[in-house]
């Protein structure tokens, strides 16, 4: 028995009433991208805040940052998504719970927020490593010319550290995109779940997965090239960072 390839299914109308099976995958890709972008924005903001906390000369700040990172890093992402989606509405005051349950598009918001928090713990570790890899003299020089500690972070430490971190941030962003597929467990119609749906409607497993795979590969390449371009664009002349 041989597998019967039927590539033309992608141009047949899907049973959802509008568009072809290929359109189903394209819409899924769109949700993957939108979810990943929102999650990444959350991860970057929280990650930088927590990462900075861990480099401040205050013990309490370091401890808070450490607890945050360990909490979000040591629970599987799928479990975290379930906690946000199923558990949070039940443990907050009943009124808030009712409000949470009737938010439109809640799989999208839940996935983006869940992945955002999860990835923020990883970004925080990169920020800590990036700040730690700067020569101590830069912080000292900043403080010596009269900058306050926040000004020193804003104008000296973070701009340099973020540039050093660019390659590892690229791979964290790629991980964010891949992680969005976990949204399918709570009903997000992203690319992997759409590939599953095409497979269930048409029984053409391998065509559906092949096209989804190609879409992920192209998305990866676009991100890698865009981040390389950005890295070159913001490079400080004469200062060699970790990238090629």
């Amino acid at each position: 028995m041989n597998y019967r390839w039927k590539w033309d299914i992608f141009f047949q109308p899907s049973p959802e009433g509008h568009g072809t099976y290929l359109d189903m995958l394209i819409v899924g890709l769109g949700w993957t991208i939108v979810t990943a972008l929102l999650a990444w924005a959350i991860a970057l903001v929280l990650g930088v805040v927590i990462g900075v906390l861990r480099t401040l000369p205050y013990k309490t700040a370091d401890r808070i940052g450490f607890a945050y990172v360990e909490l979000f890093r040591n629970i599987p992402l799928l479990v975290q998504i379930f906690l946000w989606y199923f558990v949070l509405p039940e443990v907050v005051p009943a009124e808030w719970g009712r409000w949470l349950k009737q938010i439109p598009n809640s799989p999208f918001w839940t996935t983006a927020i869940g992945i955002g928090f999860y990835m923020s713990s990883r970004v925080a570790e990169q920020v800590r490593a990036g700040v730690g890899s700067l020569p101590r003299g830069q912080r000292m020089a900043g403080l010596a010319i009269g900058l306050t500690l926040p000004q020193c972070y804003r104008h000296v430490i973070l701009p340099m550290a973020m540039r050093i971190m660019m390659p590892s941030l690229t791979s964290d962003f790629l991980n964010t995109i891949k992680n969005t597929s976990i949204g399918l467990t709570i009903g997000l119609i992203e690319l992997t779940s759409r590939a599953r749906a095409v497979q269930e409607f048409t029984f053409q497993v391998f065509e559906a997965f092949t096209v989804a795979t190609l879409m992920y590969l192209v998305l990866n390449m676009v991100v890698v090239f865009a981040m390389r371009w950005l890295e070159r664009k913001i490079a400080v002349p004469g200062y060699v960072t970790g990238s090629r």
Partner: protein
């Protein structure tokens, strides 16, 4: 908040959760980690072999798997493995393999791509002079690798290999999508049967956290010890 919290459901179902669920999770983690490290090391050796077709093949393999979401790979193999089994055994039609076997093959091959990158860095961390010295002593490629390079590569990379294994331990929860009874799957089945989602998911989170945190603390201590030695 805990007024309706039913601790009893956890105690009642703990034997099932741990004997069935956690056993599955740990078996899958340990076997996939061992298999992944073996295949990953071979991939790293291929990649660094200097023989273009082999190194391109290994690079293609690692880059492909590292660009795909694990969930998509799980679905791929879930449908692909029966066809491969048919092809290997010469059977008439796609041959169902057990759910555990399917998951094990998926995680081994997927994680091999990540372990390969770690081992590549590990092999490259051994100075070139040692390899040259090995060849100068008259050792062949496998002797140099087996007696000089790989022992040091493993030693240098132990913390990273363990960290990746913790990631793998957490990733095994994704077999949930195949309705397998791993630890999360077991918790989820009870949660839905007894309408105790809050209790079961919180308990699962606590257990995963405790194990991962304990292991990663261990890795941190190991790392501190190794970095003093070097």
């Amino acid at each position: 908040m805990f007024a309706n919290f039913d601790f009893d459901v956890i105690i009642r179902t703990a034997p099932f959760l741990f004997m069935e669920g956690m056993t599955f999770t740990l078996n899958l983690t340990v076997l996939a980690a061992l298999g992944g490290i073996v295949i990953g090391t071979l991939l790293a050796l291929m990649r660094l072999s200097g023989f273009a077709p082999l190194s391109m093949l290994a690079a293609g393999y690692t880059n492909l798997f590292r660009s795909l979401p694990l969930l998509l790979v799980i679905f791929w193999f879930y449908f692909l493995v029966p066809w491969i089994a048919m092809w290997v055994t010469g059977a008439e039609r796609p041959k169902p393999v057990g759910a555990f076997m399917s998951a094990l093959i998926t995680f081994t091959l997927f994680e091999a791509a990540y372990f390969a990158e770690i081992m590549r860095a590990g092999i490259q961390s051994v100075t070139r002079g040692q390899i040259a010295a090995g060849y100068a002593l008259g050792l062949n490629y496998w002797q140099v690798m087996g007696h000089v390079v790989l022992p040091q590569a493993f030693r240098n990379m132990t913390p990273v290999l363990l960290t990746q294994t913790i990631v793998l331990f957490q990733d095994t929860s994704l077999v949930y999508v195949l309705s397998l009874t791993d630890f999360l799957g077991a918790a989820s089945k009870i949660a839905q049967r007894d309408f105790r989602l809050v209790e079961m998911y919180l308990f699962a989170a606590v257990i995963y956290f405790a194990i991962s945190f304990a292991l990663s603390s261990l890795v941190r201590r190991l790392q501190a010890r190794i970095s003093i030695v070097r």
